[in-house]
Subunit: 349 residues, 2 copies
Amino acid sequence: MDGAPAKVRFREPQIEMAHGAGGKASRRLVEGLFVPLLYDPAGPAADRLGDAARLLIDGADLALTTDSFVVTPLRFPGGSIGELAVNGTVNDLAVSGATPIAIVASFLLEAGLPTPELEAEVRAMGEAARRTGVAIVGGDTKVVEHGKTDRMYITTTGIGRRMPGVTLSSSSVRPGDKVLVSGPVGDHGITILLARGELDLEAELRSDTRSVLPLVQAVSAVAAPGIRWMRDPTRGGVATSLNELALECGLAVHLEEEAVPVRNEVRGACELLGLDPLHIANEGQFLAVIAPEHAAAALDALRAAPGGAGAALIGEIREQPAAAVLATTRYGGSRIVDMLVGDPLPRIC
Amino acid sequence: MDGAPAKVRFREPQIEMAHGAGGKASRRLVEGLFVPLLYDPAGPAADRLGDAARLLIDGADLALTTDSFVVTPLRFPGGSIGELAVNGTVNDLAVSGATPIAIVASFLLEAGLPTPELEAEVRAMGEAARRTGVAIVGGDTKVVEHGKTDRMYITTTGIGRRMPGVTLSSSSVRPGDKVLVSGPVGDHGITILLARGELDLEAELRSDTRSVLPLVQAVSAVAAPGIRWMRDPTRGGVATSLNELALECGLAVHLEEEAVPVRNEVRGACELLGLDPLHIANEGQFLAVIAPEHAAAALDALRAAPGGAGAALIGEIREQPAAAVLATTRYGGSRIVDMLVGDPLPRIC
């Protein structure tokens, strides 16, 4: 219609589960198909397709993010789809350096869904929103025939105001910067796996779903000018988020494997299943790259904040190997940590 | 968790197709369950759950709207789900008196979806966005197992800047105001019905899907202070939108039935099926209530704008019967026009 050249490089014949898993396949789909067809560099709000877009409108400095939630089962120890749908969008804004203001929610419901199931999730959304101080200001509901969706899917979109003094960009990351994580990794993914009951495994584990906004605020209160980059390592886990960072900035992320907090239950399940905890999804943690002179203050502030006691310094940025993530193991060896490949744990959020 | 009293009045035991049809059942679900559980009158952006919420952020006067699209089939004469997903959100902003700025899109894809089907819809979205001058600035993709969705569902959320000088509110509507429609009604719904091939009916009909923004701008250029209310009559049709207006303002909408533009193909299909064209969904039309002294200028501007030749003055606001829509038939009789009840045409958008 308008002659915009669209160079679609995505060559796979059909969509597979892995294209929604947040790892390498997702990246190929986004970069190879969505970006060339949708992204308009001459558009009024030129920004890269990402988790939160920056919008400058009439002097307001805003962030906008959207996410669909398809987790199964709907309820699991520590949370539920409704709570995830609010916290996930709040967290995408928070790690973009924005304070959430408002959320709109769209529901895809299956005909025949018992009302109490819907009510429980809508209630969970309202409660999560009020805990964070974000308003749910609009929505939409579509109902499809029984069997054309899996009980319910929820899409939330959040708008936030960017925090003054916080400027995040992977291109600002420098060798010597420190990598922090807000708490133990892998709780959410392994909790969902266990909740499905397909494994003969039991563990006292709960999803980590929560708003990370108070923790982000604690860091920015003491180290705002030193925060280079933040990300919530959901689908694809810590490994995928850090690989994306490494690719974007062209530097190396060196992780000290033993410094990464992982609960025994998560480590045990991963060993049994041949999974790497660094690939497991989190819903209430975030990664931050902090300038070296601000790192100690940022870590102290995180640990002193409610829910931040498990925060840790897990690595640093170096020059080499370029655009890669390297983990130093407890025995002194090192290994390249790749992005998630395939989808070992589908429909985790 | 936080003790907010939530008075859920929705008592139906399960969700039915009609709860997503945009008519009476949808209203019961929204008013009885979503609003009490989600809407926080003390929230930072207090507004009623609706198609577009108004947000005032740092001096910017914004509108935010979200919609999921589940239309089947994905492609139909005149349009496709991707085009609807952009135009529908653009139109929700336009009839809220806002100029669209940016859209984020979330895709729910079925594993096994052929890539060309996805590419066609993403391309349609990019083209529709560029035609309107709105940027697609972010997104999300989830993939679920084959059979857990119907090929693809798309959720779009749009943000817009409210047009200066345009203040819309059902409470500003007064007896004597005129009701305009931008063109013939029912094209979209009947096109989808025919495209499904379940009826032994053929007609040269196309969906009316388009951006109504240029038409809204044409009206506001000549009659901004006179525009009281606008709405795009999608699910539930003209009858449902006008009933919502009547309920909100407590006045009567008197329609001159013969003045409502309806194509012969739509009228014929409706007569065969026992449907009222006023209940059929539209995707490229809007209703406007205009102060009497601005109505002629508004209608002239609409008719002079590209795509507006079919616009018509179809009725006026009166005092009685309160909170109702009345249609005067061509034989001089009159009938009460109710909201859509049930869902004669599911998954129309």
